[in-house]
């Protein structure tokens, strides 16, 4: 018996409080117990979740006008510069911008204690934030400088807009050199002394819809503890499928640009983050509902850690020099077991992506849908899928 459902049918069931909603992990168990066809018939929505550092994040802030008016040319929030090459009192605070006085890596490895991600986290925690602005002055915007304190509630708009989040998959980082390295994948000890990875595996949103059958422009999601939307594909969106040990696998591939009103988000799900020797960023909580429209969508949503693989990459030499290739693939089941074997050597693994938080997101989103508060949106435009064959280019130098 075939399974075909529409968004409208599923939303009708959600509104009536009759939808069957499970997390991606619960779907795996259900498929094991009842088989794929029965599970696909029963389940209406599968919820996913991920909570990890996502560097390409930031917020558009519109502060409101000063008296007299000012066309802000340089802006700092708690000493962190925001981009103001947009209209008079608008700025974009990026997650990885550092405090003006940060010593960066001059005392290697630097601590990178406070950056744009921390500013966003402080704003969403309703902490007072120091705003400093300079301007050159015009006839219509005469004011030249401003120093004041703002809170998220004081300013007119705060729109989280993250150009690249929710990476579909990611490298497992090791280090083949003979010195400790400090990377965005954490501290990696020499001679493959440890291995770090950073996805939620079987709960990770884009690993559960690798062909972008349901996640597209306009998809309503859990973002930073509130409601957000998929705005576009993320930057560096290069979905593809790789064959690993005869299994079809989503590559690092797909990404999402996501947006939402910062004012309704929560400090639990937007956390300022520092990587020793690397920089500061923002950890973002994202959860995406996947409607089980048919059996094929259910089949991908039910993929488990044993069937999902990450490439092992040397961050000591190969990654920084942009040398293609990897040291093989390991399953998320192996990564989560705490030990993997690479080049015949057993290495202990550590995650950078929080599974307990990912589970909490998937469960929270499930709760919202079950209560009828959160309905699904059909994408207004689908995103490029592996079939579109997008590939990355490197910068051409003169």
């Amino acid at each position: 018996m075939s399974v075909e459902k529409t968004y409208a049918e599923i939303n009708t069931k959600i509104k009536a409080g009759k939808a069957i909603v499970v997390t991606a992990e619960e779907l795996i168990t259900l498929v094991e117990e009842k088989g794929l066809t029965k599970a696909a018939q029963e389940v209406d929505v599968v919820t996913t979740g991920t909570f990890a550092p996502m560097c390409s994040s930031g917020a558009f802030l519109s502060f409101g006008h000063t008296k007299p008016r000012m066309k802000m040319q340089k802006v700092w929030l708690n000493g962190v510069a925001a981009y103001t090459g947009i209209a008079a009192v608008d700025a974009y605070i990026g997650a990885t911008e550092m405090h003006e006085d940060d010593p960066l890596n001059s005392n290697y490895p630097g601590e990178f204690r406070y950056g744009g991600g921390h500013v966003i986290a402080d704003l969403v925690a309703r902490k007072p934030v120091k705003l400093k602005a300079l301007a050159y002055g015009t006839d219509c915007y005469p004011r030249r400088n401003l120093e004041t304190t703002i809170t998220l509630d004081d300013i007119n708009e705060a729109i989280l807009f993250n150009p690249r989040n929710a990476y579909q998959n990611y490298n497992c980082a090791v280090n083949l050199t003979d010195r400790t390295i400090y990377t965005y994948m954490g501290m990696i000890k020499p001679h493959m002394g440890n291995a770090n990875y950073s996805t939620a595996g079987q709960l990770s949103p884009l690993l559960k819809d690798p062909h972008f059958k349901t996640i597209g422009v306009g998809t309503k999601i859990f973002l930073g503890g509130g409601i957000g939307y998929v705005a576009w594909n993320g930057t560096q969106h290069f979905p593809s499928m790789i064959d690993v040990e005869g299994k079809e696998l989503g590559s690092a591939g797909g990404t999402l640009a996501v947006t939402g009103d910062l004012k309704q988000m929560s400090p639990r799900w937007l956390v300022g983050t520092s990587y020793l020797g690397y920089g500061a960023t923002l950890s973002v909580g994202i959860g995406i509902p996947i409607p089980i429209l048919n059996k094929e969508i259910a089949r991908y949503a039910a993929k488990k850690d044993e069937e999902l693989f990450a490439p092992v990459v040397d961050y000591g030499e190969a990654y920084p020099s942009f040398t293609p290739g990897n040291l093989g693939y390991v399953s998320y089941a192996d990564l989560k077991s705490g030990k993997i074997t690479v080049n015949g050597k057993e290495i202990s693994t550590a995650p950078l992506s929080s599974m307990p938080r990912a589970r909490e997101i998937a469960a929270t989103l499930k709760g919202w849908i079950l209560k009828g508060e959160f309905q699904l949106t059909e994408p207004v435009k689908t995103l490029p899928s592996p079939a579109d064959g997008f590939t990355a280019h490197s910068i051409k130098e003169d």
Partner: protein, 133 residues
């Protein structure tokens, strides 16, 4: 008499000297080596529990050799408000004091296994590991 917990830090020159033997033989101290480590640069760290009437004399002997002697009155604590249970610390903790519980993938901290190396304090992306006096 309760034992004194101390952390010793020393350079290459000391690594080759039998300092623990001297504490026992010359100062009549009962010494329990909680942890000892010499890194690839031949710099050493040792955590000792020392008991005896002449413990202060013994420690002065070490200081005169150029050994840094620090009382281990500090402890490492986890700020549960800040910890997001990512697990980044578990990859660098040398003793397994910080470890992942499976299959929940929750991060656990066993203070008894901690040797105060403070690596977790530096690598925790959320600054959740704190030194407390």
């Amino acid at each position: 008499m309760s034992p004194k917990r101390i952390v010793l830090r020393f350079g290459t020159d000391i690594s080759v000297k039998p300092i623990v033997y001297r504490l026992v033989k010359d100062y009549d101290l009962v010494v329990n080596i909680v942890k000892a480590d010499v890194n690839p640069q031949k710099e050493g760290t040792m955590i000792l529990e020392v008991t005896g009437d002449q413990s202060e004399d013994g420690l002065n002997y070490l200081r005169n050799l150029g050994v840094s002697v620090q009382n281990l009155t500090q402890e490492i604590v986890r700020n549960d408000e800040k910890c997001v249970m990512c697990g980044a610390c578990t990859g660098v903790c040398p003793t397994g004091a910080l470890y992942m519980e499976r299959p929940s993938m929750e991060v656990r901290f066993d203070g008894d296994q901690c040797v105060f190396c403070q690596l977790c304090v530096k690598v925790c992306p959320m600054w959740a590991m704190e030194v407390r006096l």
